[in-house]
């Protein structure tokens, strides 16, 4: 068979610039074969090589006393004591989900699950961060239904609970939705497996589903914008088979209980190519693979197709020589394809053969070392100053503050997301101690007293207005959420969703966000152990707000000390921790956007030293049983945090009567809805009040007593009063009614 001749034009069609192609020629010393061109194009795509982002990702702190594995492997690993560790990562599947929401979201979940269990950890929980366009955009309802069904369809079938997440809407996502999927697993230290090809002569074994033509160039699709031709890209969306993945999961975990293998990696983006080359690169070895031995679902597949296919539910294993039969037996028990397709070589070359011929021969170190690395120009947008200008005094005062309050609570951002999470099995495996609906989900670790707290957050408006501060806030909010549940933040994974990095303004946003995140991580002592970058989230030249989603993982040494975000007992006192951080801050606020139709100003100021003390205070307060609930102020400000504490619990709504925490001179709407950082709403039994205040003094946290839980109203003295039951009703029904979904 004669392959298409490789030319610079063909290289460009593959997404390689003239310069990159020049490097390829330099490495090989000749024109690449078509298969080799395919390999270079996917390995050097943005999605796989991180060429535009690597230089900035280095700024993240990735080490720490608990870090067993930082970025660079399939997932990050953090020690939790007692010989156990958590394995986690977040990944994006944005472009495929826009084109085919069910399968795009489903395969996103499948991919991240594999990234975790390939390290030897049984996945015990998933979360997701979803962004859609305007609620009234014609496509939004269809996308929401499809994505949620897809996540449910895959996650429920494979038996991993989906315990939390965030769903947010904004015009900037009209043409580019975001689907970021996170999974965490637990593993014993001595049972961790890495994706390394080591031991010359060791067999390379393919397991899982047969290979078809799915998703060829999926990696390059993620590395380009949408335009009018995007519909044509439909065939590149993969179809997931969660039952197969369940079998694969059980088979892999069974195999990992033996010592028959050396390394293992899942075949994700760029399938067989990325898994083989990355494993060999980590091991400093090479390999020889015979594509004729790859189990195939279609007839007449070319080597190019076999190397680039993104068929799902496949893994690549390097086993110990002589142990092939053990591997085979396990995978045959679980009815999965298993085939020895090659062996590890010692010369650092990746060799691929097909029909008796060598179709690719690439020096692995060069493929990795000479991968493009860009320091793209970053320029602050000219309009940024104007964007940050905001004169709150000029905003009209709402005539009915109570009505405005109801409007915010029943809107798509703050309304109860039960419509979404009721479709996710969030209880399976009987580990979920705090179900979806609180600031953080908490899971138990059976066999220990420990708990794991999880949350995923990002305020993209803040990042749009000031990406550096927005990045800091993203990390702080995640840390605060897990601290509110009583946990100590021990690591994070991120999904950095941005527009086109070839635009200097986007690059400025990216660099700034990372620098902000890094600063917060350093001060708070939280390492970034894994993550993902998704660029090119733009349509027709219009990009999304910078959206660096942060998935925060926290540890409770004693899960029984966990706290929820809602009030539970009439008579409990309501206090504000961090009261000195209150101020009039409307920049980027939900109130400004929903009621006044503006996104402007600057995000609220943040004091990292204060945040650090606050985290420690919250954890000790929970540990010492001093608080009944903790909920940090976020979107919607003080009034919405108060309302949420009243209505978001599982029983009927609680009431509350509090004083206005702001000076009387402050405009009522500003007092209600200003968004502040580092402020937490607490409730405590009256008997614990003194001890709680003492503890706050020890941590230099300014406390303010506001009032008491109880009554039929949620009442902010002098400002507004709404019936608690009414508030709960509008909050419960708001999501479905705003989106026109069936309740």
């Amino acid at each position: 068979m004669k392959e298409k001749p490789v030319t610079p034009e063909l290289a460009r069609e593959h997404g390689l610039s003239a310069e990159e192609y020049g490097t390829v020629l330099g490495i090989l010393g000749r024109t690449p074969s078509l298969t080799e061109l395919g390999i270079f194009s996917v390995m050097w795509s943005e999605h796989c090589s991180y060429k535009s982002s690597r230089i900035h990702l280095k700024k993240f702190p990735t080490k720490g006393a608990r870090v067993l594995q930082g970025p660079g492997e399939n997932a990050g690993i953090v020690d939790i004591g007692d010989g156990l560790a958590v394995v986690f990562k977040m990944e994006s599947h944005n472009h495929p989900s826009f084109i085919e929401p069910y399968q795009g979201a489903a395969t996103g979940v499948g991919g991240i699950l594999r990234d975790v269990f390939t390290m030897g950890a049984r996945p015990i929980a998933s979360l997701n961060s979803l962004r859609f366009g305007r609620p009234d955009h014609p496509r939004t309802r269809y996308l929401v239904s499809g994505v949620v069904s897809g996540i449910a369809g895959y996650g429920n079938c494979i038996g991993v609970p989906t315990v939390g997440g965030e769903v947010s809407f904004d015009e900037c996502y009209d043409g580019n939705i975001l689907v970021n999927a996170f999974t965490l697993g637990v593993v014993r230290h001595e049972r961790i497996w890495l994706g390394t090809a080591a031991g010359v002569g060791n067999p390379v074994i393919y397991v899982g589903s047969k290979t078809g033509r799915d998703g060829i160039h999926g990696a390059t699709m993620a590395s380009g914008e949408f335009d009018e031709k995007s519909e044509e890209k439909r065939p590149t969306v993969q179809v997931g088979a969660p039952f197969t993945e369940k079998l694969l999961l059980e088979a892999c975990l069974e195999l990992m209980r033996t010592d028959a293998i050396v390394g293992i990696q899942d075949m994700g983006a760029a399938g067989l190519t990325s898994s083989s080359f990355e494993m060999a690169s980590r091991g400093g070895t090479g390999f020889l693979m015979d594509l004729d031995r790859v189990p195939q679902r279609e007839e007449g597949m070319t080597p190019y197709e076999l190397m680039l296919s993104e068929s799902q539910e496949r893994m690549l294993i390097v086993a110990k020589k002589g142990r092939e039969d053990e591997v085979r037996e396990i995978f045959e028990k679980w009815d999965l394809d298993v085939s020895v397709i090659g062996e590890v070589a010692g010369d650092g070359i990746g060799r691929v053969r097909w029909h008796g011929k060598t179709v690719a021969e690439i020096p692995i170190a060069a493929l990795t070392d000479k991968a493009p690395l860009y320091d793209r120009p970053a320029v602050r947008p000219e309009g940024q100053d104007a964007l940050q200008g905001l004169d709150p005094a000029g905003l009209p005062v709402p005539s009915d503050l109570g009505e405005t309050w109801v409007r915010l609570l029943s809107g798509s951002e703050l309304a109860d997301k039960k419509w979404v999470y009721r479709q996710y099995d969030h209880m399976i495996r009987t580990n979920t101690l705090i179900l979806p609906g609180s600031d953080a989900a908490v899971l138990r670790v059976k066999g220990t007293r420990k708990g794991i707290a999880l949350s995923v957050d990002c305020n993209s408006r803040y990042c749009y207005l000031d990406p550096f501060v927005g990045g800091m806030i993203a990390v702080c909010e995640g840390a605060r959420n897990v601290a509110c549940s009583g946990a100590e933040p021990i690591g994070l994974s991120d999904c950095l969703n941005f527009g086109n990095p070839e635009k200097p303004e986007v690059m400025w946003q990216f660099r700034s966000a990372i620098e902000g995140m890094a600063k917060a991580c350093e001060t708070l002592g939280i390492p970034v152990v894994s993550g993902n970058v998704s660029f090119y989230n733009e349509t027709m030249g219009r990009g999304i707000h910078p959206t660096p989603a942060v998935a925060m993982v926290g540890l409770l040494e004693d899960a029984s000390k966990r706290r929820v975000q809602w009030f539970s007992t009439d008579g409990d006192l309501i206090l504000l921790a961090g009261a000195d951080r209150l101020g009039v801050h409307l920049g980027g606020s939900l109130y400004l956007k929903e009621v006044h139709g503006k996104v402007a100003g600057t995000p609220p100021p943040i004091d990292l030293a204060h945040e650090k003390r606050l985290l420690e205070f919250l954890r000790e307060a929970a540990e010492a049983d001093l608080v009944a609930s903790a909920h940090d102020l976020a979107e919607g400000g003080f009034a919405c945090a108060l309302a949420e504490s009243c209505v978001s619990g599982p029983g009927s709504a609680m009431g509350a009567r509090v004083i206005n925490p702001f000076p009387e001179t402050i405009r009522p709407d500003f007092a209600m809805f200003s968004e502040c950082q580092g402020v937490v709403l607490l409730s405590c039994a009256p008997a614990k009040r003194d001890a709680l205040l003492d503890l706050a003094r020890r941590f230099r946290i300014t406390m303010r007593e506001l009032g008491v839980v109880g009554g039929e109203f949620v009442d902010v003295e002098g400002l507004a009063r709404v019936g608690a039951a009414e508030l709960r009703t509008v909050w419960s029904e708001g999501f479905a009614s705003t989106l026109g979904l069936e309740g």
Partner: protein, 233 residues
């Protein structure tokens, strides 16, 4: 006293059932792979939930063909207690060990939530000592939990005391609003004529401890242990 927890390709809730039995209730439990054709030595059988065979063709349709189901049939004919939970219930229906069938939830969406159940008969090993009218708080998690049987089968089930649980409100009233999936007559669980085989869509193994938010599920397993204890006499 030993309980078999069956494991098929795609079973998910096997670990949860095992944990509830062994670590919460304190009963010996063992996983039994679907290819095993005998259940000798076991005193009770649990068919747990999950997505056996990916729910391909129909939920439980392919699992019913596994060798272990022959052993389950013989075990049931011998009067031993068998409980099928969620997908386990679907498997019992497909295997004709219980009458009727499951169709998709009327909302066309998967539903995972706590519901209330009204106990309707105490003659099964799992409801022994749970009087009629008792209200239990137990979660469901399913996409195809809408129980269907034709009118004459439904009447027969009622007459012969084979309806074991119905969806109800917190006060025990059987209402339309309390039905999460559209099941005929709010039926959440039924038993065979002899009363030893129970199939139910809600998951008692998920609420056997207070930490999980409800310990009502434990009552079914405690009842089973008491029933077996009495049988041995």
């Amino acid at each position: 006293m030993k309980t078999a927890v069956l494991v098929f390709p795609g079973s998910n809730c096997d670990h949860d059932a095992y944990h509830a039995l062994k670590h919460v209730v304190g009963v010996e439990a063992e996983f039994v792979w679907h290819k095993q054709a005998t259940l000798d030595g076991f005193d009770a059988v649990v068919i747990p939930g999950g997505f056996t065979y990916g729910d391909y063709l129909r939920s439980g349709a392919m699992a019913k063909l596994s060798p272990v189901m022959g052993a389950v049939r013989r075990f049931a004919e011998g009067g031993g207690p068998v409980i099928g939970i969620c997908n386990g219930f679907q498997i019992l229906l497909e295997a004709d060990l219980l009458p009727g069938a499951m169709i998709v939830n009327d909302s066309l969406r998967f539903v995972c939530d706590y519901v209330h159940l009204r106990a309707c008969t105490d003659r099964t090993p799992f409801t022994r000592g749970i009087p009629d009218g008792s209200v239990l708080r137990i979660p469901v998690a399913h996409y195809q939990g809408n129980y269907y049987a034709d009118e004459s089968t439904l009447s027969s089930l009622e007459e012969r005391g084979q309806v074991v649980f119905r969806y109800c409100d917190p006060e025990g009233e059987v209402t339309k609003e309390s039905n999460p999936n559209g099941s005929a007559r709010n039926i959440a669980g039924i038993c065979n004529e002899a009363g030893n085989v129970l199939g139910m869509m809600p998951h008692p193994e998920r609420c056997a401890e207070e930490a999980m938010g409800s310990a009502d599920g434990r009552r079914l397993f405690d009842a089973m242990v008491a029933w077996l204890g009495e049988k041995r006499g």
